[in-house]
């Protein structure tokens, strides 16, 4: 990672973005006093170029773009360790959620966002089947991420153990699920929901 000069001014600090993160996550970023306890306990910290405390710090400085340019948010496992132990109750796990949503909404998939790809497929699965259909999920992920057969090595073994079902159990009220997705989309279109 290049260590780019940070020029701070009213123009370069994107406070609007920070406000969005705060609204989505329901958590203040200003409350953080950079104790680093979140990063100390984060199981994924070593995978991130910006450990959790620095993600909050960059938000405090209005540098959301620096976070989104990196992969940190895609490595967060949503384990809530940070949120639980933060002395100031900064809900970092929720902030990470918000950042992922904003990133995806703005830029769509990126090379770091396999996870999000998996997540999207997971949700697509819900929309189609009402429940998870793990075999399809795995297969689709491998196809779409270009990581052919990466995990399907485990597939046959799992199927033989009855762990991966060959057929999905489709929900009878599938129409209702579609309804939920539709109504949320509509609310967003009308600006009634974030």
């Amino acid at each position: 990672m290049k260590n780019k000069l940070m020029h701070l001014s009213n123009e370069t600090m994107n406070i609007g973005f920070v406000k969005k993160v705060e609204a989505l996550s329901g958590s203040s970023v200003r409350r953080c006093f950079q104790c680093g306890k979140c990063s100390a306990g984060c199981p994924m910290s070593t995978f991130m170029e910006h450990p959790p405390n620095r993600v909050v710090r960059l938000l405090q400085l209005g540098q959301g773009q620096r976070i989104l340019a990196g992969r940190s948010i895609w490595y967060c496992a949503s384990c809530e360790t940070c949120t639980t132990r933060c002395p100031n109750k900064v809900d970092l796990a929720a902030i990470m959620d918000a950042l992922r949503k904003l990133s995806w909404d703005a830029d769509g998939p990126s090379k770091e966002s396999y996870v999000q790809l998996a997540n999207r497929l997971f949700i697509e699965n819900i929309r189609t089947y009402g429940r998870q259909y793990e075999l399809r999920l795995g297969a689709a992920f491998n196809m779409k991420s270009g990581q052919f057969l990466k995990d399907l090595m485990l597939g046959p073994k799992l199927i033989s153990k009855g762990k991966l079902k060959m057929f999905h159990s489709k929900n009878k009220n599938i129409a209702e699920i579609e309804g939920i997705f539709k109504r949320i989309e509509e609310m967003r279109k009308k600006g009634e929901a974030l």
């Binding site: 006093f33 306890k37 979140c38 100390a40 306990g41 070593t46 450990p51 405390n53 620095r54 933060c86």
Partner: protein, 665 residues
């Protein structure tokens, strides 16, 4: 009909430039009840005051109004002059036609009209004014000091040296408090006991100090200058007047394995004990919960071996009542322990550190005992679990402090410094050992303090890591410390042999209960509240009670001693007079109308309002009414505005006076 005199001042040209003073004087003269009016160039000058005095005599005035500058400027001057002329000083008022009129308006007509109005209002006030006599209360020149830590000791010695008698009440068997537990003290690293014990002995030997240890405050009555304090003397089971302090009982007591509180539970003591060898007084107490005699009626060894026959198993708690004029509260602090969240504590607890289940995670005070030459290890740094010398020691700052959601939001103030001290002491004692400190900031604002911290880093080679610790767990005989270094931006893992936590400084247990007995206020953490954060940091809002030391907020020794001496000075100021005199602007209750709802009592921040019983001649209770203690009333008038039956009135600001002014609008 009243005979009021109105004196309108020009203030050179300050007033007369925009206000037509002659017209004002003339208009004043036309107000009914005004017997005399005039204007003069400088009312506060000698001739001005003489003019006033003369007029009072000549015109038999029964009230005086000086229309001039702000009363904040010269009210005292003119009240004195009025008094000299034989008038009650509270019948002299000022109308502010300078700061509130001539200086803030340019239009002469309007300013003059306003000045006339102001005079008119104030004449009504004078008319309805009452003669008031200053309130005097006698002062008992004996002080009570609660708590025998360094704060209490310093305050007691100062007051006693000034020649006044002091009663010191200490809850524990010995005075000394936390300072007696410390090894060496920042910022000079002098031996704590070496500087502390002589002072403790001074207290014991001072002819002006009565020391009650193993005693508590039971009840406090009265007010500034006149408190009656009931002290409970807990049964020591040893007759202080007979005991010579020989210590034989302690060596012979068969119950020897009781964890010693003074050593933070790491040393042992018998059931009959003094907390530490230099204890003052050197009279043991029997810890009844651990004594076989008290638990099963057998033993009695100590009574047998005691030559003077001082041991007394039948001793009961006793009470004495002390009259004192001033109280210094110096009850100090306690340290937060990382145990599971205690009920009612603002601290959530530190499960991620094992809730105190890992033996080699200790707090700062325990480290002090380990480092102290008189401690359980004789000053060697040996860890509690297996007595080995730790080669890697991790210190963690701000545990419980500065954690508004997990713990408490304030900074404990002393731990940055004592942690730096601990790294030095450790380095002095274990040359091949390494100290690591997890910290957020080094808060070292004191004389020589930052230099001290830098010495720990630069010369004593402590490794400071800016970041906090998320988790610790035992693995084999090591403690795995998972932290982060936010400057490098990486996680840090250290396998420590010993971990020392700088845990939060909290008020003493029961601090709130003592405050309620004293009638002083305390904050949400139970630290006692000073009357003003900057200008009255030693006084309580309750008159006659002063604060010293860590009971008011976290403090190191220099700050504690400064505050203690300041509290002593306040006590001496109070004792400098035989009687207290104060402004008679105090509330009074009209008992005839008071319905005893005590709405007033609830709003009085000074605790000045008491419940008084009215009885008929047969002694039957007729009703309860409010009574305002004039020695305590601050004179705010809140009670009066609150009283639904208008039965309480503030002298100098009666409804009648104010209504009369409003009528004159």
């Amino acid at each position: 009909m009243s005979r009021i005199g109105v004196f309108v001042c020009h203030c050179g040209e300050n007033i007369s430039r925009t206000v037509d003073v002659e017209q004002v004087a003339k208009a004043a003269g036309e107000i009914p009840g005004v017997a005399y009016s005039c204007d003069y160039k400088y009312m506060c000058s000698d001739p001005g005051q003489t003019l006033l005095k003369k007029a009072v005599a000549e015109h038999k005035l029964d009230g005086v109004l000086v229309a001039a500058c702000s009363p904040r400027m010269h009210e005292k001057t003119f009240r004195k002059a009025a008094e000299a002329a034989g008038l009650n000083p509270y019948l002299c008022e000022m109308a502010n036609i300078r700061e509130h009129c001539s200086w803030v308006h340019e239009d002469r007509d309007m300013a003059t009209a306003k000045a006339k109005d102001i005079v008119k209002l104030m004449v009504e006030r004078v008319r309805k004014g009452k003669s008031l006599a200053p309130i005097t209360v006698p002062v008992t020149k004996r002080a009570l000091v609660i708590g025998g830590g360094i704060a209490g000791i310093q305050a007691a010695l100062d007051v006693a040296d000034a020649g006044h008698h002091v009663i010191m009440v200490e809850r524990d068997p010995s005075i000394g408090g936390h300072m007696a537990q410390l090894s060496e003290t920042f910022p000079t690293l002098d031996c704590s006991q070496c500087i502390m014990t002589p002072k403790m002995v001074d207290v014991a030997n001072h002819p002006n100090i009565t020391l009650y240890t193993y005693s508590e405050i039971e009840k406090v009555e009265g007010y500034i200058g006149n408190f009656q304090v009931t002290v409970k003397h807990k049964a020591r089971s040893v007759d202080e007047s007979k005991c010579t302090g020989c210590g034989v009982c302690m060596t012979k007591c068969p119950k020897k394995k009781i964890p010693n509180e003074f050593d933070q539970g790491h040393g042992m003591r018998p059931a009959i004990y003094v907390p530490f060898p230099q204890a003052v007084p050197n009279t043991p107490v029997i810890d009844r919960e651990n004594c076989t005699m008290f638990q099963s009626g057998k033993c009695g060894v100590c009574a047998k071996v005691c030559g003077p026959g001082a041991v007394d198993y039948e001793q009961k708690d006793t009470f004495t009542v002390e009259d004192v004029g001033a109280i210094v509260v110096a009850t100090g602090f306690k340290l937060y322990t990382i145990d599971r969240k205690p009920e009612g504590s603002p601290i959530q607890g530190y499960g991620e550190f094992g809730y105190g289940t890992i033996p080699d995670i200790i707090d700062g005070m325990t480290f002090e005992r380990l480092a102290s030459a008189s401690g359980p290890t004789g000053g060697k740094i040996l860890r509690p679990s297996d007595g080995k010398e730790p080669k890697q020691v991790v210190f963690i700052q701000c545990v419980g402090s500065r954690a508004r959601e997990k713990g408490i939001s304030y900074c404990s103030k002393v731990c940055c410094m004592y942690t730096a001290k601990h790294t030095m002491l450790y380095h002095h004692k274990v040359h091949d050992g390494q100290a690591y400190v997890f910290f957020m900031d080094a808060r070292t604002p004191g004389k020589g303090y930052d230099e001290f911290w830098r010495r720990a880093v630069e010369e004593e080679e402590a490794v400071y890591i800016r970041g906090m610790v998320s988790r610790m767990y035992q693995r084999g005989d090591k403690i795995v410390v998972m932290g982060s270094d936010i400057q490098v931006g990486t996680q840090v893992e250290i396998e420590a042999d010993l971990v020392v936590l700088a845990t939060a400084v909290q008020p003493q247990d029961g601090a709130d209960l003592l405050a309620q007995k004293l009638g002083i206020s305390y904050d949400k953490y139970n630290f006692y509240s000073e009357a003003h954060a900057k200008l009255k940091p030693v006084e309580c809002a309750t008159a006659g009670i002063y604060l010293a030391g860590a009971c008011q907020g976290p403090k190191d020794i220099p700050d504690t001693v400064s505050q203690a001496s300041a509290a002593a000075a306040k006590v001496m100021t109070l004792f400098a007079k035989d009687k207290l005199e104060r402004d008679p602007v105090v509330a009074k209750v009209n008992e005839k109308y008071c319905v005893g709802c005590f709405a007033c009592k609830k709003v009085c921040a000074y605790g000045a309002i008491e419940e008084k019983e009215i009885r008929d001649r047969q002694g039957n209770l007729v009703k309860k009414v409010a009574y305002v203690n004039p020695g305590v009333c601050g004179g705010c008038g809140t009670c009066q505005a609150t009283c639904p039956s208008k039965s309480i009135e503030l002298d100098g600001y009666t409804d009648e006076q104010i209504m009369a002014m409003i009528e004159a609008l």
